[in-house]
């Protein structure tokens, strides 16, 4: 009895010894999280209830920033623009990513090369992407209008200066630049589906469509859920593409300013960091709402097999 007791004590002390090393390993990351994420988050909440004076001084103003925000037509327009942007990028982006991932999962020639090509946009800096696409979209000389003009009369579509087309144009660039990431994730999800399921379905005489909807989609739904959440959050936080392609003297500006773009202007150009913090909190609430809906909804459509 004493020997097992000693063994237990030895095991317990080794576990806590291991646990000690564990804490040491995660300490840098946790420290980083606290300093760079958690503290600034609470600080932003505090700042949203203050009005910031110049150069770091601020004073408490209670709900003033929120009152101003909810009665600001610019904010509502930016919210509408951001939600419209989500609608443009998320469904199409995920659908395309799944379609391409399925294709890249099948036995086609040059598959590995194609996988690398689809992933390439991810390694390019967003600013470079925005500048090149802005040039492509140029009304007079952009390659897109030139290409479309080959099929008949001269095409002079104002891609980024027409209020109705500017956000869709930016959405195209957003989908293009991030599809590589989604494809890689979905590809990993697809490759985890055992071939035996498909073989069994073939034996039962299933066609492509029913195989897709009854095997592929349920089996890849956990990965799709993750991709959906990431895409939603990225779309709600959209800033750099719109900032670089659509400036504030562009006629399409009001119909293209997203919440984060408005935050940037309020925070760094106007200097209203308190009001900008309120905008950030509002964006956070929207993201939270979307994510909460998704987490509740996952019970309906995400299939986790244990």
């Amino acid at each position: 009895m004493t020997s097992t007791h000693i063994a237990q004590v030895k095991r317990a002390s080794r576990l806590s010894h291991d646990a000690g090393w564990g804490y040491l390993m995660v300490a840098p990351t946790i420290l980083g999280l606290i300093i760079l994420n958690i503290y600034p988050f609470f600080h932003s909440i505090y700042m949203s209830f203050s009005e910031t004076m110049l150069f770091g001084n601020w004073e408490w103003v209670g709900l003033d920033n929120y009152r101003k925000m909810f009665s600001d037509p610019n904010m509502w327009r930016a919210t509408g623009n951001t939600l419209y942007f989500v609608l443009l990028t998320v469904p199409l982006g995920i659908f395309l990513a799944l379609a391409f991932a399925s294709m890249l999962n099948s036995q086609i020639k040059g598959r590995d090369g194609l996988r690398a090509i689809y992933f390439l946009p991810m390694i390019v800096a967003p600013a470079a992407i925005a500048m090149v696409w802005k040039w492509l979209y140029n009304t007079e000389y952009g390659l897109i209008n030139q290409f479309l003009g080959l099929f008949g009369a001269d095409v002079k579509i104002n891609w980024i200066s027409n209020p109705k087309l500017a956000l869709p144009a930016a959405a195209i660039v957003a989908i293009w630049s991030s599809i590589g990431y989604d494809i890689i994730l979905l590809l990993a999800g697809l490759q985890a589906i055992p071939r035996s399921y498909y073989e069994a379905a073939d034996i039962d005489g299933a066609n492509f469509i029913s195989k897709f909807f009854h095997i592929t989609v349920p089996m890849v739904s956990p990965t799709m859920f993750f991709v959906l959440i990431m895409r939603l959050m990225a779309a709600l936080k959209q800033f750099d593409l719109v900032y670089m392609m659509i400036t504030d003297t562009n006629p399409a500006f009001q119909q293209s300013q997203t919440l984060m773009y408005m935050f940037y202007r309020e925070s760094f150009q106007v200097g209203n960091k308190g009001y900008a913090s309120a905008l950030v909190l509002w964006t956070f609430v929207i993201i939270l709402a979307f994510t909460a809906i998704q987490f509740v909804g996952q019970k309906k459509w995400v299939h986790y097999d244990q």
């Binding site: 770091g56 140029n138 027409n162 400036t247 006629p251 009001q254 760094f268």
Partner: protein, 440 residues
């Protein structure tokens, strides 16, 4: 056990590298600085090496600033100066962050848009007495308007650097092609319209570029008509003269077809269009001359005239040109203040201004040195810019400009977009900008 020791070393390595990144400010600012910056010792110690950072936003003026730095360090070999360029869009964001963090460059350019903000928050060193006792230097050698621009509460916080005005740039080749006489001092608003129309009809090329722009755009016509936007803490938007000037400038784009539309300016700005020969005329600030002359496509094909005058101004002669000037300033929290002030003192001397002018960077502020800039490009009628100084109106600014500036832009952009009329826009501006000015 081995893996644990390895892990411990890795963690140590990570933590140390983090500390090194965050670390000492003076050494990270320098690119290959072989001279250590002294943080504690005042630069008055002879033989103590000092490194100063010099922040600017115009890469075309970098050679000029480096020439000034070289002239100073030749006489003061214990000082080395590094010129750092940050693009205009990021300069103020970066400067404000640096100011809040106590990390401003030792010397930096200051602009009237932001001056009051920095001065009223004790960010800039009072240089009123910098030239006390000096015989051939001093603030009486600068145009009064420039000195006033950088005076706050009776004290001076910057050494004037330069001034700029707005002129009319025109493409001689296109004018010849259309058979139109070059602009001269008889031109009025109507002559401008007629010439632009003729050029568009005869050559198909846009006659005049009229994008949304304040300093190089509607502010000139507003003051030419005898109105004003913001002055002495008051707004003047809702007056007949201001409305006349604003309406005229906007009409150049919207009521005729000789100017590209705002959509087209979103694709390529007025400067790009002018330099590529797509538009025959534009209002052009003098700071653009060196970049334009560095562009082989437009060099030799353009010239400058004074701005046309208002045909029927509500008050005044009908002539105006927006002028502005920059200043050099140094921070109250700088670690090398004594050395920085010595360099600042040098920058305000006649010798420095001559070097500045000869480099072509900008029109130097010291009285009598502007000729050096004029001689840099003798083939151009740069005298037009100095002539416009006689009718110069300071670019409007105030302590809260960063708040009302965007509102002015957004509201007038709505007139371009067609959602507001000029009358509605000026009424809105009167109320909203007025409210912000009242808080000062």
């Amino acid at each position: 056990m081995k893996t644990r020791i390895l892990a411990l070393f890795l963690i140590l390595g990570l933590v140390l590298s983090l500390a090194a990144c965050g670390g000492s400010t003076s050494t990270t600012a320098a690119a290959g600085g072989d001279q250590a910056a002294t943080t504690a010792a005042p630069a008055g110690d002879t033989g103590e090496k000092v490194k100063l950072t010099f922040g600017i936003w115009d890469s075309y003026q970098k050679p000029g600033m480096e020439a000034l730095a070289a002239a100073y360090t030749a006489k003061n070999p214990n000082v080395s100066i590094e010129v750092q360029v940050t693009g205009w869009d990021e300069y103020w964001t970066k400067l404000e962050a640096a100011a809040s963090g106590g990390e401003l460059p030792d010397i930096f350019w200051m602009h009237t848009n932001e001056f009051v903000k920095y001065a009223s928050n004790n960010m800039l060193v009072d240089v009123t007495n910098l030239y006390d006792g000096a015989t051939d230097a001093g603030y009486s050698n600068f145009p009064e308007g420039l000195v006033k621009n950088f005076t706050y509460d009776g004290k001076l916080y910057g050494v004037p650097k330069d001034w700029d005005t707005i002129g009319l740039a025109y493409n001689k080749e296109i004018f010849d092609q259309a058979g139109v006489k070059y602009p001269d001092d008889t031109w009025t608003w109507d002559t401008l319209v007629e010439a632009a129309k003729t050029i568009k009809e005869k050559t198909g090329i846009y006659g005049f570029a009229a994008p949304y722009d304040d300093q190089q755009g509607f502010l000139n016509t507003v003051y030419q008509a005898g109105g004003f936007t913001v002055a002495d803490g008051k707004t003047g938007y809702n007056s007949d003269a201001t409305k006349m000037g604003l309406a005229y400038y906007i009409s150049l784009q919207k009521d005729y077809d000789f100017s590209p539309t705002q959509e087209q300016f979103a694709d390529a700005d007025a400067g790009t269009l002018f330099q590529s020969g797509q538009v025959a005329m534009q209002f052009l600030g003098s700071w653009n001359i060196t970049p334009y002359m560095n562009n082989e496509d437009i060099k030799g094909k353009f010239d400058i005239a004074i701005l046309p005058k208002a045909t029927n101004p509500v008050s005044g002669e009908g002539r105006a040109s927006i002028y502005n000037g920059l200043a050099y300033a140094t921070s109250t929290k700088g670690k090398n203040q004594a050395a920085a002030l010595e360099f600042l003192k040098f920058l305000g001397t006649k010798e420095a201004n001559i070097i500045h002018g000869e480099s072509g960077a900008a029109i130097p502020a010291f009285n009598g040195t502007s000729e050096t800039w004029l001689t840099k490009f003798p083939e151009l009628n740069l005298k037009a810019y100095t002539d416009m100084m006689d009718y110069g109106i300071q670019f409007p600014g105030s302590k809260t400009k960063s708040k009302w500036g965007p509102i002015e832009k957004q509201t007038i952009m709505e007139v371009y977009n067609g959602t507001l009329t000029v009358d509605e826009a000026v009424a809105k501006l009167e109320t909203e900008v007025g409210a912000i000015l009242a808080t000062e």
